[in-house]
Symmetry: C2
């Protein structure tokens, strides 16, 4: 049995749970190796039923049967031909599961209701759990860090190759497509999120969707991109200028870079996400742009591109060794545009280790 | 006020609700015009708070403020700087909302718990709703049908252009990327789902992920693709062969096509999804492949690529005029491969109207 399953089972024992139902796709993959994505939360590709004792099961439908067998050899693949609840009404008594945990933060209110009805029939109590497996995923194993590092470097290669091709007149969407194509050509599973290419005034929207606007000489272009490699995500933002940046652009890039460096210099085991955010935010506030930095400084990255911990004014828990976080301050000015710079680091005992090698446009 | 809001408000009145919270992204877009997607269900881009009387609100965060103002002029854009629940604790008493509906099928169990806590504080009762707005979306308005038809035809143009380029040796992923790129170049917002290109034995997985396998002469290649245009989805599957198909391939394509025609010939207002599924399924069963058709015959398409109604053995509700559904029987044989053929139709009083013009590989 793999160590992650062993770890989970001891957590179930501590909570006096007979089994746990795992529906969240990244958690499912983390424990089983099953790589399927969910089309959406209402259309699951499968669930794990992990009893504290005995064989873990992967419950899925016929569409995923072959894939599940190939990818999750530790699990017994069982199909729910008449729906999940009908299957559970059989399995729970057969496996003598009296207390069943489920993922409160990845189970719909309506799904939980139906689960409650089925479990009542077979005298099983359901217990909502939050973040149980996410907590296991917080600090990355050495093997995971190695994959994340590969994911970061592949992402940088893709960025570099397309960055060299940038010319005035290319549209945002054209650049985004070149990036995403090259990711796949170089072996990424997929982009880890919709690539952002936001030029000129469009940069003022932190989550801009690439459009048919042509990029121009001298304006800041925010490129926020990431890819998934063997399940693990990368996430990087560069703000680049084709030709000479204006004085204002240079000034703002320098402020954002100072904030980023201040954030990175603060990160170490034992400090809170709030403390790190604050160190970076102060730089932007002092420069008079506090109002123009509306989001948190960073977020965890792993199987999910956004996962705990968070570097933000509201995250008061402490950072731990082996966590991977982004450091991404930004300044957004409606009508003018935006600047965001984002790197990924691993939290260490006395500081942090930068995962990025690329330094395009950071120090101008 | 737009008709959809008016319609919703009268539904709220019937249920004696003072307001409804809308979190599901397609429902949000349907009512407001706000096009943002959610990164995932745990990371909302915004919610609508629609009181039975008075100004509807769009609650979002600073990342989406500008976009929301541009796209949803009927709504008052309000930011939740300290979290959604803090904002609701102010708004609900201010707007005198005593009974608040929420979307049970797009609210997480954990989110519903927190909402319950906040609402208890301000003496508001929360009422879970299921499918209220989805019901409004079931039958398409003439304007929606016109956009869906455009979406279908653009998808077919993309298919045709890449189909002409198919050569042995091209990889699945290369074909999928060409398709998705061309979608975006031709003005689609995005693919409506991850494009499937499954060649030879890979076709046996109905939800195969395109890989680095090169396509070969004579084997069946399943191409399942769709795009989103002005919010509305298309979805089409063709099974094509480069060169001459084998006798077995020809035989199976003919059975699947007969099943598709039988399904389409059965569709009309008043019949159930189960009845239509059954008409097509019988053909495949009689040919001895009943075990190899493991999914339903079809599903609704609109703002979502999978939405009600469903053509399946478990869907016993009646079809209505203006519904849009796919008709997509398939035969999947492990080790050999698969065949699926998928068209989209509009349900009409005495039959159905085919939205597809492309007939590649259907009648061989």
């Amino acid at each position: 049995m793999n160590n992650r399953l062993k770890n989970l089972k001891s957590r179930l024992a501590r909570r006096k749970l007979d089994a746990m139902l795992v529906s969240q796709p990244d958690n499912r993959r983390y424990l089983s190796g099953f790589t399927a994505c969910d089309h959406d939360i209402q259309e699951s590709s499968g669930l794990l039923l992990i009893p504290r004792q005995g064989q873990p099961l992967l419950l899925t439908d016929s569409r995923f049967e072959i894939l599940a067998r190939q990818e999750a050899p530790d699990f017994e693949v069982t199909l729910y031909r008449k729906g999940l609840n009908t299957l559970l009404e059989k399995l729970l008594p057969a496996l003598n599961i009296k207390r069943l945990g489920f993922e409160s933060h990845y189970t719909l209110h309506s799904t939980a209701r139906k689960l409650q009805q089925s479990c009542t029939k077979v005298e099983t109590t359901i217990i909502p759990l939050t973040g149980l497996i996410e907590k296991m995923r917080l600090c990355k194993e050495a093997e995971e860090l190695a994959i994340i590092e590969k994911s970061v470097h592949l992402n940088e290669q893709v960025f570099q190759e397309i960055f060299q091709q940038l010319r005035p007149g290319m549209t945002e969407i054209d650049i985004a497509m070149r990036l995403e194509n090259l990711m796949r050509h170089k072996g990424a599973e997929r982009p880890s999120f919709d690539t952002i290419v936001a030029s000129g005034p469009n940069g003022a929207l932190p989550h801009a969707v690439p459009g048919h606007r042509a990029i121009k000489k001298g304006e800041p272009i925010v490129i926020d991109m990431g890819l998934t490699l063997a399940g693990y995500c990368s996430d990087m933002t560069r703000t680049v200028v084709v030709g000479q940046p204006s004085n204002k652009t240079t000034e703002i890039i320098r402020i954002v870079r100072q904030a980023q460096l201040a954030g990175m210099a603060t990160i170490r085991t034992g400090l809170t996400g709030k403390q790190v955010d604050s160190a970076a935010r102060k730089i932007i506030q002092k420069a008079g742009y506090g109002h123009a930095f509306g989001h948190g400084l960073g977020h965890g990255v792993g199987l999910a591109v956004h996962e705990p911990p968070s570097l933000s004014p509201r995250y008061t828990r402490k950072l731990q060794e082996g966590m991977v976080v982004t450091v991404e301050p930004g300044i957004y000015l409606e009508g003018w545009g935006g600047v965001r710079l984002e790197n990924m680091v691993v939290v260490e005992k006395n500081g942090c280790r930068l995962l990025n090698q690329d330094s395009t446009g950071l120090d101008i």
